[in-house]
């Protein structure tokens, strides 16, 4: 009890300089966004950054549901896609009517597209949480995705709706033809959306959303209707997903049925969960990682979805808090100054863990290409999928790596326990 008492008094004392640090982090983020394309200025990098920016807005919007309100949606891409279509139609309308609306305002219409649909279907959808909500979201997702192929005038069928972002009125002399300008447009909306979504978590509605997530029954006995809370959260999530969709429409100059399909919905769930739903910045990390993997892996291997699956299962099993959860686990150790006692065992674990990962990769690639017969090229080394040597190498790495890695991981766990105990004794919650 005394330890606990001490721990909290210290914990409350720390955020004294928190305000400065808080704004510092945001300003640093903005500075990075501004400088990034100046350092990595190749066309490929700009495209990647643009896609990551869109993915972050989308994942943050998803976390309003999953992390903040405890709603597991399998159809969040519906709002993203409808936002994309709304943005495309708006852009075309602006051009054909000659309205004085420049491109940077277009994502707002994407947001409105996502919001309006959320307002229409949300009330029925959010009546119940849990499995019921998840199933309905899946159904709505399929419904909208299939409608998008049927309602040609609105969704353009297989081809989708195309648009030309440079045809809109210029703003500050920017035509938004070059990818760099599009990147800055996306970065601007990313900052705006991230601040707005963060601010939302600090409002009475945001706090009550957390309460609904934790215990919807009890919320009813402190004056709140959890249905209304879920509905409002759903509408906000729909709006920001629509903004992300609008940004995608600007980036690709097209919106098609793939935007609102199950794959897109799965991807955002995946990003958000991998990043970690318990912290605001978690989905950002997830979106960055998943977009990079997606861009990188698709060029390297034909079975990239398999790797996604393995990563996802790994996170669910070993780190349900996601990457953010893993990182934040270290905070009490850093504060207590005991992190250094864990580092050596981390270093020791690197080699067997990498060996295990190589074993897994080699096994997957061997199996995947066995019938195809094309050579495997891993990190510059060539393998033949039909050669027993490759199989033996894979097996040795896999089994040996797993065996040694287990020992190394146990070492980490022990070191971790000791460090956490010391941290607790020094009065930091761990």
């Amino acid at each position: 009890m005394t330890t606990a008492t001490r721990s909290t008094s210290k914990a409350t004392a720390t955020p004294a300089g928190g305000g400065v640090r808080f704004y510092g982090v945001w300003l640093l983020g903005i500075a990075v966004l501004i400088v990034l394309p100046l350092i990595f200025s190749s066309g490929g990098s700009l495209t990647s950054f643009s896609l990551i920016g869109i993915a972050i807005v989308f994942a943050l919007s998803y976390n309003i549901l999953l992390g903040q309100t405890g709603l597991l949606s399998f159809g969040h891409a519906v709002h993203y896609g409808l936002g994309g279509f709304a943005a495309c139609h708006m852009m075309n309308a602006v051009v054909s009517h000659g309205w004085p609306i420049p491109l940077p305002f277009i994502p707002l219409f994407g947001g409105i597209g996502g919001l309006v649909f959320a307002m229409i279907i949300g009330w029925v959808m959010t009546k119940r949480a849990g499995t019921v909500f998840a199933m309905i979201s899946l159904g709505i997702g399929e419904l909208v995705a299939s409608s998008s192929l049927i309602l040609r005038s609105m969704f353009g069928g297989e081809a989708g709706i195309t648009t030309d972002r440079t045809a809109l009125p210029k703003m500050l002399g920017w035509s938004f033809g070059p990818q760099l300008q599009v990147y800055y447009l996306i970065a601007f909306w990313l900052v705006l959306s991230a601040i707005a979504m963060y601010a939302l978590t600090r409002t009475p509605l945001g706090r009550i959303s957390n309460a609904v997530r934790d215990n919807p029954e009890r919320v009813q006995f402190i004056g709140y209707d959890p249905h209304v809370v879920r509905y409002l959260a759903f509408c906000f999530a729909g709006f920001f997903a629509g903004v992300a969709g609008g940004l995608a429409a600007i980036n690709f100059e097209i919106a098609n049925s793939a935007y609102l399909g199950a794959i897109q919905s799965g991807l955002v769930l995946f990003s958000t969960f991998i990043g970690g739903t318990a912290y605001f910045f978690g989905p950002m990390l997830g979106a960055i990682l998943v977009t990079y993997l997606q861009l990188g892996l698709t060029n390297v291997t034909s079975v990239w979805q398999l790797y996604f699956g393995i990563i996802f299962i790994g996170i669910v099993m070993f780190s349900p808090g996601g990457i953010a959860g893993l990182l934040m686990m270290h905070r009490p150790l850093v504060r207590a100054g005991t992190l250094w006692t864990v580092i050596p065992s981390y270093l020791v674990a690197i080699v067997p863990t990498v060996a295990l990962a190589c074993g897994v990769i080699l096994t997957i690639e061997t199996v995947a290409r066995y019938s195809g017969g094309d050579p495997i090229n891993l990190f510059g080394i060539s393998f033949n999928a039909k050669s027993p040597v490759t199989w033996i190498a894979a097996a040795v790495l896999l089994v040996g790596g797993a065996f040694v890695a287990r020992l190394a991981w146990r070492r980490i766990a022990d070191a971790w326990d000791r460090a956490a105990t010391v941290a607790r004794d020094r009065g930091y919650l761990a």
Partner: protein, 249 residues
């Protein structure tokens, strides 16, 4: 003067089983009213019926003269009735501070606001701090509620219940599972926090009941067999037979 709570001829069946039978109960404003009865008598079910958690099969419940049976729990809460739960029912992943603050928000009129920063609402902050102080949990304000000790969770449960400033407070076995010292502390806490309010309390500890209550109702098999002052209840032969008799030997 209208009663704070009036339960009239309420029945509740789960399937074919009648759990509450012809329940009649009156609680005057400002009264401390204890409901006692053996395990499974229907005390918690009575709380659920009054607070809107479940709906009566028949009969009606009035709060300050208005019929509330059939209303949703949050509608009843907004009319000034707040209840706690026998099994701790808090927001486990949120801090103690957040737990209490959530319970303050509706009553301070902020409702579903998404245009206000919750940290810069002075009346919310003051009231939350006051309640944390009242329930002796200020030093634990940043701890997730799920990590509190059992006794602390019970105190938080009381804090959440009274945070809205409801005029009718219902506590379901607030001291269950507490040690003697903890019980004493909880009772003086309850006494202080429900000053000037109407209190309905379910309690198994007879010393707590007879020390705290102005009136006592005895519930057996879903029916109130006696209702009166502690003295009357102590003397009532039906009560002796049905309930206190067990305690005697």
């Amino acid at each position: 003067m209208t009663a704070a709570i009036e339960v009239r001829a309420v029945e509740k069946r789960f399937g074919n089983v009648g759990i509450i039978r012809d329940l009649n109960l009156g609680v005057a404003k400002g009264e401390r009213h204890a409901i006692i009865g053996p395990n499974g008598a229907g005390k918690s079910t009575t709380f659920n019926l009054i607070s809107g958690h479940i709906k009566p099969t028949s009969g009606e419940v009035k709060l300050n003269g208005d019929v509330i049976s059939g209303l949703r729990p949050f509608e009843i809460n907004r009319r000034g009735l707040s209840r706690s739960f026998q099994v701790t029912n808090v927001f486990a992943r949120m801090s103690v501070w957040e737990n209490v603050r959530c319970a303050v928000l509706w009553a301070t009129g902020h409702r579903y606001a998404f245009w206000k920063n919750v940290d810069s609402l002075p009346e919310v902050r003051e009231r939350t701090a006051q309640i944390l102080d009242d329930i002796h949990l200020t030093h634990r304000r940043d701890v997730p509620a799920g990590l509190l000790t059992y006794a602390e969770q019970r105190e938080l449960e009381i804090g959440i219940t009274i945070a809205s400033g409801a005029t009718v407070v219902m506590l379901d076995e607030p001291t269950a599972g507490m040690s003697h010292a903890e019980t004493d502390r909880a009772v003086s806490l309850i006494r202080r926090l429900t000053e000037g309010k109407t209190l309905v309390i379910v309690e198994h500890d007879m010393s707590v009941v007879f020390g705290l209550a102005d009136r006592i109702s005895v519930l057996v098999y879903g029916h109130i067999i006696a209702s009166g002052t502690p003295e009357e209840i102590r003397r009532d032969p039906k009560v002796k037979e049905a309930y206190l008799g067990e305690e005697a030997h």
